[in-house]
């Protein structure tokens, strides 16, 4: 059994790459990451010279958990190109077995792209990632998300790139669009060898209630930043799924990104079609040491499931994501409360009472009330189960309405009753 990953001929001992960001912006940390065991890295985006502002990060905390969502207004690499190139070469020499992808964002003309690609390829890097996603700072100059948001511009830039590139090209998509498919299709048609997604999502993480200035605070002002971290995972998974479903975009391998913090998150991205996964915020929050459990957890899970290689499960969940009208209306399940596990917190009751179908009975007790499901009332919405603080205390038990599959279209045709709840 092995985690070894082959992404367009780029080999890495495991599917975990560090995403293009501060953890990959210079030799010292990249060496430490590779020593720790990361499968590869996407070097912090290289391009024209920039200047960062000082204060640049902010976060969203939730109920005591810090950095549930992370936000930045940082630009591409603010170190001289030559130093970056020299360091990439040195890292490659020390860790030839790891994936070395370099992220690029050239000025918006053919010549700049060609020159930059040439210089980077000279280092011996294994692949290129085109940053069409950065939502701040660079867009104002017609780069980053400004490219990724317009499929035709993206197509044009990828065409320029493909004229010059001799190593695999991954195009990184922006999520700041209603669908990633149009841009994805355009760049695949233009010849990109692979896709990666998502970059960060434009956001305002919060406002200081004393100064009235949103964060991050920069001398009395702020700007929209790019949101990432655990909070964006569901959005990233959705975008990834649309790429895996589309007949054009699904032809190329995908590197999944966005909120991956645990091996479980990574498996989910892979089940929806990612060949490799990239991590940024989790490494920024905890350091490189998380790689140990990222690998270990995935390995143990694979062993349990009997998977020999990651390709055994990549994309496995894609077919189960269907259209609403194909769902089986005869499938019905009902909540069940395990009274031995119940701690009588009443959270299921009040949620169902105030926000669902008033399907839980309360039998008063001092101090502990007893809660039971009114089976005939329960629509099976899952709300109580989601809210219950005890694992497996509330379970959803299947009670089919009828044995046969019945979807919405058939249901309408049969003239079956609507609005019956």
């Amino acid at each position: 059994m092995s985690l070894a990953t082959n992404f367009l001929g780029i080999h890495s001992p495991n599917p975990y790459w560090l995403a293009s960001a501060p953890p990959t912006d210079k030799k010292i940390n990249v060496l430490r990451a590779l020593e720790a065991g990361w499968g590869g890295i996407v070097w912090k985006t290289l391009g024209s010279q920039v200047k960062n502002v000082s204060s640049r990060y902010s976060a969203v905390n939730f109920n005591g958990t810090r950095v549930m969502g992370f936000n930045n207004i940082e630009l591409i690499s603010d170190r001289p190109l030559d130093i970056n190139l020299k360091e990439i070469r040195e890292v490659l020499k020390e860790f030839p077995d790891r994936a070395m992808i370099v992220s690029l964002m050239a000025d918006n003309d053919r010549k700049s792209w060609h020159e930059l690609i040439k210089k980077v390829e000279d280092t011996g890097a294994h692949g290129l990632e085109l940053n069409f996603g950065c939502p701040h700072g660079m867009t104002e100059r017609g780069m980053g998300a400004a490219v990724g948001q317009d499929p035709e511009i993206a197509r044009m830039v990828v065409e320029w790139v493909m004229e010059a590139a001799t190593i695999p090209v991954i195009t990184k998509l922006t999520p700041n669009v209603h669908s990633v498919v149009p841009a994805g299709k355009a760049v695949v048609e233009a010849g990109t060898n692979a896709l990666s997604l998502i970059n960060t999502i434009q956001s305002v993480t919060g406002i200081d209630l004393d100064t009235f200035v949103p964060n991050p605070y920069v001398a009395g002002k702020s700007v929209f930043g790019g949101y990432c971290g655990p909070a964006v995972k569901p959005i990233a998974l959705k975008f990834l799924a649309t790429i895996s479903q589309n007949p054009v975009t699904r032809k190329v391998p995908v590197s999944g990104i966005g909120g991956i913090s645990t091996w479980k998150d990574a498996v989910e991205f892979m089940l929806l079609g990612s060949t490799s996964v990239q991590v940024c915020t989790a490494a920024m929050k905890h350091g490189f040491r998380i790689i140990e459990d990222l690998c270990d957890g995935m390995r143990n899970w694979m062993e349990e499931k009997g998977f020999e290689t990651t390709t055994d499960f990549i994309g496995k969940s894609v077919p189960t994501l269907t259209q609403w009208e194909d769902l089986d209306i005869n499938y019905h399940h009902i909540a069940n409360i395990n009274q031995d596990k119940c701690i009588h917190c009443g959270l299921c009751y009040i949620a169902c009472e105030d926000a669902s179908h008033q399907s839980i009975a309360l039998e008063y007790g001092k101090p502990y009330n007893k809660y039971t499901i009114k089976e005939e009332e329960c629509v099976g919405c899952n709300l109580c189960q989601l809210i219950c603080p005890v694992t497996n205390c509330i379970t959803m038990v299947e009670h089919r309405v009828a044995p046969e599959y019945l979807n919405w279209k058939d249901y309408q045709q049969l003239g079956l009753p609507l609005n019956d709840h």
């Binding site: 009588h344 917190c345 009443g346 959270l347 009751y349 009975a361 309360l362 008063y364």
Partner: protein
């Protein structure tokens, strides 16, 4: 030898330091506040005699609405700060926390309550406003938890309140009875000041009902009277040697300690404490903390029947107090008028009595403990004479009341220890609220400000699962 000044100032400070220290930082409070599940119709709240909306006040700490949190607490319990330090929470709110059912640590409700309320008291937040005076006047006997709680509710409704208090300080047993490592004199003073800061409450100190105040006069001068005078000293043992020098009453011993300062209170070298209630534990631990070298608690029954909680017993055990189970005092020995020993009978458990506890029965065996001080802590007795003289219906001196604190006398209401015979501060606070409700009803004033103690309106009952209203305190 019985003597005071056994320890240095530093030693006293260490021995009487706050047994339940507060959160050091806001972050520390947040960690615990965020753990709270925000239960619906929360078990903790049901176990609070004053029905503080605990999930709500904890959530308000989480959202950094500390003022709102303090208001939530004080609306139900104006002694919310003190209760956060003295309540036996292990058998009340925290004992019912649903985390216990997951074998997880309960939410430190008392500590969180203290976090919100101490800031309110420290910063003197004016959280309550008194309504314009209604012109109605009410007299209250006793500035303890029951009296002050009643006074605060009444004042909010625009009643002019006068409290007659026999001591020179307010707070009742909070100030004069409760263990010194739970509350400091400064805290008790600040808490009373904070309660009185609403205005409309005048306290006449050093005035004692039955001595320089008469109930009849109060009945004629005021629109209503509330009795919250608590209970008196410990019952006598009725054994030989009780008159010897060195036999003291626990209530009196603790009163000295709380009133005069640690170094001035005399304590024996080897001390026996009789009883195992809250008062006995407090007397034993504090005797030890004052510098007694050996403290032996003498209790008639077994661990299974003990009136104190395990938590309190553990405090005494950790302080190095010894417990003699199944032993009853038989005779106090003395030499030249001073205590030298305590003879105890070895007991065994007989048949269950009226309280369904098995009664201890004397065996022929005895043993003697060598002691120079005996502290009696076998339960306080009500002010029987005062109650009888004034024609109050009673139950062995405990004033008898019907709904909302009404006594048999016209205009006279009562509550707290003087009615229940001695429970906790939190029960007295609720009794004060109940009495205030009764008085307002009697005076025909709508009690808009009296927080419903168990907010039945938040239990949105459906047909068939209405909570049993009789069980709810309204």
């Amino acid at each position: 030898m019985i003597t005071n000044n056994r320890l240095t100032g530093d030693q006293y400070a260490v021995n009487f330091a706050d047994i339940h220290p507060p959160f050091e930082t806001h972050d520390a409070a947040l960690v615990e506040a965020d753990r709270c599940l925000f239960c619906y119709d929360a078990p903790c709240m049901k176990m609070c005699p004053t029905s503080i909306n605990i999930p709500k006040f904890i959530k308000q700490i989480s959202t950094e609405n500390i003022k709102g949190s303090a208001t939530t607490i004080f609306s139900s319990n104006i002694f919310g700060a003190g209760c956060g330090k003295v309540c036996p929470v292990e058998k009340l709110c925290e004992g019912a926390c649903v985390y216990n059912l997951m074998d997880e640590e309960a939410i430190p409700i008392a500590k969180l309550q203290r976090y919100a309320t101490e800031r309110a008291i420290h910063d003197k937040w004016p959280l309550f406003k008194r309504k314009p005076s209604t012109g109605k006047k009410v007299a209250i006997i006793g500035a303890g938890p029951a009296g002050l709680s009643c006074a605060h509710v009444l004042s909010r409704e625009g009643i002019d309140v006068t409290i007659y208090e026999k001591e020179s300080k307010g707070g009742g047993l909070m100030t004069y009875g409760i263990a010194a490592y739970k509350v400091t004199p400064e805290f008790c003073n600040d808490e009373v000041e904070y309660i009185l800061s609403i205005g409309g409450i005048r306290v006449k100190y050093n005035r004692e009902l039955g001595k320089n105040v008469s109930l009849e006069k109060l009945q004629s001068k005021y629109d209503a009277v509330y009795l919250g005078m608590g209970v008196g000293l410990t019952r006598t043992l009725a054994i030989k040697g009780e008159e010897l020098e060195g036999v003291v009453d626990a209530i009196d011993f603790i009163y000295q300690l709380r009133d005069k300062g640690f170094s001035s209170v005399p304590v024996g070298d080897k001390v026996a404490v009789i009883g195992l209630g809250m008062t006995a534990i407090d007397a034993a631990t504090q005797a030890k903390r004052l510098g007694a070298s050996e403290v032996s608690i003498v209790y008639r029954r077994t661990h299974a029947e003990m009136p104190c909680t395990q938590h309190e017993l553990d405090i005494a055990l950790l302080d190095g107090c010894k417990i003699n189970w199944l032993s009853a005092p038989k005779e106090i020995l003395g030499k030249r008028g001073k205590v030298t020993g305590l003879v105890c009978s070895v007991m065994e458990l007989g048949k269950p009595d009226a309280s369904e506890r098995r009664s201890p029965v004397e065996t022929n065996e005895t043993f003697t403990i060598e002691v120079d001080m005996v502290i009696k802590a076998t339960g306080q007795i009500p002010f029987v004479d005062l109650v009888m003289q004034n024609g109050l219906e009673n139950d062995k001196g405990k004033v008898r009341i019907s709904d909302n604190g009404r006594t048999n006398l016209a205009k006279v209401f009562a509550g707290g220890d003087c009615v229940n015979g001695g429970k906790e501060v939190v029960d007295a606070v609720q009794a004060g609220k109940d009495g205030a409700r009764g008085i307002l009803e009697f005076l025909g004033i709508p009690a808009s400000n009296v927080e419903p103690t168990y907010n039945a309106s938040t239990v949105s009952p459906q047909k068939g699962n209405l909570p049993d209203i009789k069980l709810l305190r309204l």
